[in-house]
Amino acid sequence: MQRLEEREVPTETTATAAEIASRLARLARSTARLCGRTDLIGRIERIGVGIGDPNTRILVAGEFKTGKSSLVNAVVGHDVCPTDTDAATAVATVVRAEPAPCASILVRRGGGDLEMVDVDPADLGDWVTEDGPARHGVLAHGDELVVAAVGVPTDWLAPGLLMIDLPGVGGLGSLAGAATLSAAAHAHGVVFVTDGGRPLAADEQAFLAELVRRRHHVVLVESRIDLHPAWREVLGSDREVVKTDTDGCMAVSSELLNLVGVDREEGIAALRGWLADVSKDAGRSAGLRLAVFAEQAGRAMRAPLEAELAALGEDDAPGVLDVCRAEQQRLRSAGARWSQLLSDGFADLAADSDYRMRERLREVVRDGEAQLADVDPARGWGGLASGWRRALGDVVDAHFVLVDRRVEEIARTLARLVAPDEESAAALGDELMAVALGADVGQDVAERDLALGELPRSGLGTKSLVLLRSSYSSALMIGFLGSVIGLSLAAPAVLAVGAVLGTRGLMQENTRQIDHRRQLAATALRRHTEELATALGKESRDRIRRGQRVLRDAISAELESRLRTAGDALARAERVAAASAAERASRRSAIAVELRRVDTLLAASRNVQTILAEPAR
């Protein structure tokens, strides 16, 4: 039995990360059962959730017009993403390998239902850039295109690898930037594209830094090296900026590859290699997280056994008892304080973030009203509405960034309280953040299953599409509200008002009508800002509550498990102190068996960490 288990120790490197990780999870579970630590089994399962994901998602992000779509085309070796000199990509496009070309789009109907529609791959350009003719007849007023997907026969994308061509990011503060960051949380890697004609600008650097801060795999691609004589200097200076934080920089010319089949600097080949690596690596980080936890669990199981063994040896029984009591005391005092810290932290967060969000929204309304003084809303509406939409988007972005950061602060404070030293506090903090993030992923998965309940499963990776959509949900909320603002004023309200006043009397003053329209516009802005505040407040309260609940559970489980470890150790040491010689001997041999199993687990989890620590390349 034991030999069989030991053979499962994952040492060979040919297995995929997911296989290695799931074997380790099995080993950890069985060891916990043997040692009577059923409390650890549930946590092992929870941490191992992300291991079996069949898809690898790679985002292609960057400023407007840096050649993202051309790059995707060059990588897959087909003209799939439309490239236009003027119109930029307006909606995310998911590209994956399929035996025959196919394309579909995901539409959110006016009522909020999602629908997958198969389209002709040749028309894709109409769908992913603004307002193409093919949209008519499929998209009704109020419908929204969520994402487009295209399958292409290519050998360059591994099965399950999704390349997601995103709309351009207009700086870190923009809505598209926020959506990209949020989508990156669910992606396995990000290809950041920058123009080879100029070094990274401040906002691009900030954006990259944020991606790196969130521990995403990022590769920097310098595009259009066929066109810029100084691309080598630019590449050199960008390498300086990003040298340690990313998976590398590569220089490419999509144009040369697409037109004459020359891969200058072999940049595209390098990128394809990176993609293949990431694809092989998928599940690696999930596996790594599991391995780290398995090691912690192993130590938690080992401590009581060691304490008992030490007491059995009779050499320093009182000392062992003191150490056990001191640890128990420390944990009890932490137990008395953590819940206060947690609820205070979250109460402050909720109040602060809500206050700041409302303050920012009030500013948008104030500015909007000031703008209205100069224009007739009936004419300048397009510009006004898009300006407001942008401003409101910035508010949402700032709000969620604030919430994220504060949750992280709280998690780290709690980790320092519970863990005995700085190093394990940092590790625990990471784990807690991963769990808090996992809560949102879990929520998205639930939404996804809900949304897909009635949908016909199209050939393409429907699941992951919707997963992407829900990461955009905050962004879409704004887009949606924005179109509502536009609707209620631009068409029916203004026309109705004009008609009413017009029939009542031609003598009515035009200025009065304009004033009236201004009032209408101001009211619409105020009303929709109010609605946004409510929606955003609800969304963020839910998110905060979810975060609080998840952190509470995680911390209390952690404390409970540590307390149990400490208590267990103390009890065993005390019991041993009172036992007979024969009892001691038999106990010693039982402990030896358990210890060997725990050591096996420890060795295996360390081994797995070494295997998974470096990307498989």
């Binding site: 017009k65 100069d374 003598m507 200025t511």
Partner: protein, 484 residues
Amino acid sequence: MSLFGQVLQLLEIAERTYVGHPEATATLERIRVRMVEPLRVAIAGRVKSGKSTLLNALVGEPLAASDVGECTRFVTWYQAGGSYRAFVQRHGREAEQVRLIRRTHCVDVEPGGWADGELERIVVEWPSRRLRQMTLIDTPGLGSLSAQLGRSTEAQLLGEQDTSPADAVVYVVRHLHGSDVRFLEALHDDDVGRPFPVNSLIVVGRADEIGAGRLDAMDAAARVAERYRRDPQVRQLGSTAVAVAGLVAFGSTQLTEEHHRTILDQTRLDPDAAQMLLRSVDDVVDPAIAPGIDVARRRELLNLLGLFGMRLAERLVAEGHLSAAELATALRVHSGLDELQRVIGEQFVARAEVLKARSAMGSLKRLVGRFPPSSDTLVAGIERVEAGAHEFAELRLLLAVRGGGVRLDPTEEHEVEQLVSTIGLPAIERLGLDCGADPDLTRHELVTRIGRWRRRAETPLADPATAAAASVVARSYEGLLAES
């Protein structure tokens, strides 16, 4: 009296008001000097949008450094002068003369090594016909790597000083970006207290890169510029948009016989080799391709014109058998530089007096705000000029029309748009008639139009805003009639 004259009168009143007030007197002296100096045009935009290259193209000489990386670190004024001199101005100090160094691709000052933000500006005096028309101000990019550089640009352009530094702005974009729009909005939020789309124009710089350097790249860039021209939001920010391939534009001013010979040699290559050569920047300087043409010459041409410029020049020479001078002209036209100079001439230079008077009014108002005068004469004078000057009435009309506050039918709207978008220009332009129109016919047309708009203003059914607009239009035509 013209607005310019009225502002000069105001300045006299102000000088009398502030007798014995050294600070105010000094400011007034600066404002007065401003009135007779050439128009000041600032070139602004995000980092690496091609501001310095555009400046060099406009002057026709390699003045501003335009290498890889951020090169413009200080606001630099290029103004006409009798000799080649340079000054640096530190914050709150007198300008100090420094040594001006001519390098191959730009000019520099010595001693250099100033820290970011240490200098208010560098002033380069350069004898140049172009600079006598207008002083050009080069600015560090907005959204700069060093946040301080970006801020100093904003401070310079948005003017926290007593005299606003620039009368007009050429705003260079690659693609219109959120921060561009924010800046342009802030830019217009000054003196008159509302947007002022007359003194700024948008240049789609690096136009050759929009179409990935292909031969039709300028057409694509022209389409982008056209879209900006039509966009109502952009129309409130800048009077028009022009696409310019900065590198080709500047290169066209520096083209030599030697360059021309290199291009001629290229056209004599066999088609495959020619295509290989111009495939990418690395191929241009690859000694294995077209060994008959010296690599150093190829590299020089590439640095001068860029890949798109080389492709364009090769095509122009091959198809039109152009001489060096003809090629320079053709490149200038194709690069959009001619168009830009025409637009700057029409929009800025021709209405320099109105723009300068407007700047001076803004400075005066700031002065009065800072040092409230003891008597009301000056304040009343400023108010009178602001309310009474027909030029300001026309500017307000422009805003009303673009903002949608005036109700007109489409032909009327077209006519008014023509009139108000040409404020400060000659009568022919403002009427939108063909340039060859006979003076008598012009006068006849003016009389007809005056009558029509007078009637429009007096129609009892017209709402007040439209009636007011109609009388401004009629008044404008009367002014034109008086001048003709």
